[in-house]
Amino acid sequence: MIRHALTVISNFRKKHPIFDAFVWASLLACATYIGGYSDYFKAWLWNLLPITIGGLDANWWRAFGFTICASLVAWGLGAGIGYALGVFAAAARVSIGPEIKMRRWFGISIDVFYRFLYIIPFVLTANITYNIAFAWQDKFGAPRCVSGIAMILVAGAALGGYRVFIAVYSSVSEAKFESVVLSRSLFSQGRRDGSRVLGLRQSIGLVLRLRDCEILMFSRSLEDAFHLSIVAVMIVESILPAFYENFLPQSGFSPAYFGGVGRMVINAQQSLNPRQISGILWLVLIYDGIVTAIIRAGCAYFWHRYYHQQQKEVA
């Protein structure tokens, strides 16, 4: 039907060349008419360009420094926790047979609990964690930094950590039959019998082999974890005023940049300053791109380069 309509139009244009001139004239008229009203939007568009980074004052850059440190620490902690939990939960699932139902149930429970932590809104998780940490700090006289560390830990583990966890866990729970069979069949140190039930060391060895079979998924999860750790850190900064004060010995008046980029963005929104918000968002995007590229280069150095050597060396 569309083809028929296009044919009709094409034939019409051949018969009446003036039709083209009419269409172009109409377009020009419309553009001129709309252009008179677009100055407001043009001003907005200027505010959204990357050059707005140049308009950021020193406080933004200081806040950005805090956010960089917090996101890197959150990513490291989150990836570590997610990886350790993923290996442990997956190791609980690799053995087979009716005698290890409890162990499998244990692994599945970790997955369900962690998934629950991931899917509930992070704002709720952060609020609850802060309340618990603050109450603990208040009741038992723990150092002030405890609540700050707890929040960074949650920021890393709840979102980014889960991506690493699920990459390791699903490489076992959803492993291809061929991968499972091969990993079980190959030689591994310490495995000496034909038993279905494996010891902890052997289970972890098997999990690591299955992770290797899906290594691209795992390295992608490290990148995702970093994206999410920035998001989580900025959410924490925005819901807790002067978040980095927690790492100082005394609370009280501190400059605005102690709230981090998240809090500064909230303040800028309240004072209707889109130019600075746009600038910091571009900065965060550039920072995210740089660190992601470094993570990808690291993964390529450790794992991916071997995927491409095959054609070079054995042709």
Partner: protein, 279 residues
């Protein structure tokens, strides 16, 4: 009237403790190795009855041709390596047969295939099995030294052209496709040879098809046999080999092997009937 239980309280407590320890990776004292290993057998006769695998959308029916049973592994006196070569055209269910055999031996689950095992092979701990599937993933960043021990005689037999000191530190990406399979086979044989089980099963699904001609495949099997007989004489090794190399004019010349021939007799909508016989 209540009957008295034959298990005492201490028996039950010991059983519960053992079960609990197994659930949470608590190591238990193992019996001395000498009791569980080195039980020499002349070999096991493993046969297969008529059976049917229902995959939901497709049903494969294995029908023995002349007799009730098809011999998969036949004991031969003074031998402890038994080779079965499966010969069939594409689509007859060779890989399915191997997969089901793996599941039946490894998991001891109710398999739709009717295998008759020797009574000695009841306990899973008595049996070690390795299966190299046709689509085995090649994990190119694995190092050889993590897959195979340094002093592996199987690797020396199957990959003699590589220097010991060099190959251990190489990664899989530095080997060719045929060498990958030789490495995998060596690693699987190492695993089988170090197990405490007294019978080992090695299932090879077109594993050696890429290493060369028919003579090369036969030579690889012969190497496995020789090294196994020399290094692990106290254990039986049962190899089932699927290879398309048989389909040519020449045939694999593997001495003392059983040849299992599979032919598709009818192929209806969702049903494939395969006739099996020993040649």
């Amino acid at each position: 009237m209540a009957t008295k239980c034959k298990f005492s309280f201490t028996d039950r407590a010991a059983y519960a403790g053992k079960l609990f320890a197994r659930m949470f990776w608590i190591p238990l004292p193992q019996p001395p190795e000498a009791e569980s290993v080195h039980r020499h057998h002349d070999g096991y006769t493993v046969t297969m009855r008529r059976s049917e695998i229902d995959f939901g959308e497709c049903v494969i029916d294995y029908i023995p041709k002349d007799s009730e049973k098809v011999v998969l592994w036949k004991p031969i006196k003074s031998e402890n390596v038994f080779v079965t070569v499966v010969k069939a055209a594409s689509g007859t269910g060779k890989s399915t047969l191997l997969t089901q055999l793996y599941r039946a031996i490894r998991e001891r689950l109710s398999s739709p295939l009717g295998f008759d095992f020797d009574p000695d092979l009841i306990l899973p701990e008595d049996v070690a099995i390795a299966f190299l599937p046709q689509k085995a993933p090649i994990v190119r960043h694995w190092k050889v030294k993590h897959m195979i021990p340094r002093e592996s005689t199987f690797l020396q037999g199957l990959l003699p052209q590589e220097e010991d000191s060099e190959r251990l530190f190489k990664r899989l990406s530095q080997f060719s496709g045929g060498q990958h399979m030789r490495l995998y086979a060596s690693s699987a044989l190492e695993q089988l040879s170090t197990s405490t089980a007294h019978a080992a099963f090695l299932l090879l699904d077109e594993t050696f098809d890429g290493i060369g001609g028919e003579e090369d495949v036969a030579q690889a099997i012969e190497t496995i046999r020789n090294v196994w007989c020399k290094e692990v004489p106290q254990k039986s090794l049962h190899v089932m080999l699927v290879s398309h190399k048989q389909l040519g004019e020449g045939r694999l010349s593997i001495p003392n092997s059983v040849s299992l021939v599979m032919d598709v007799t009818s192929r209806k909508k969702n049903r494939i009937e395969v006739q099996m016989e020993n040649q």
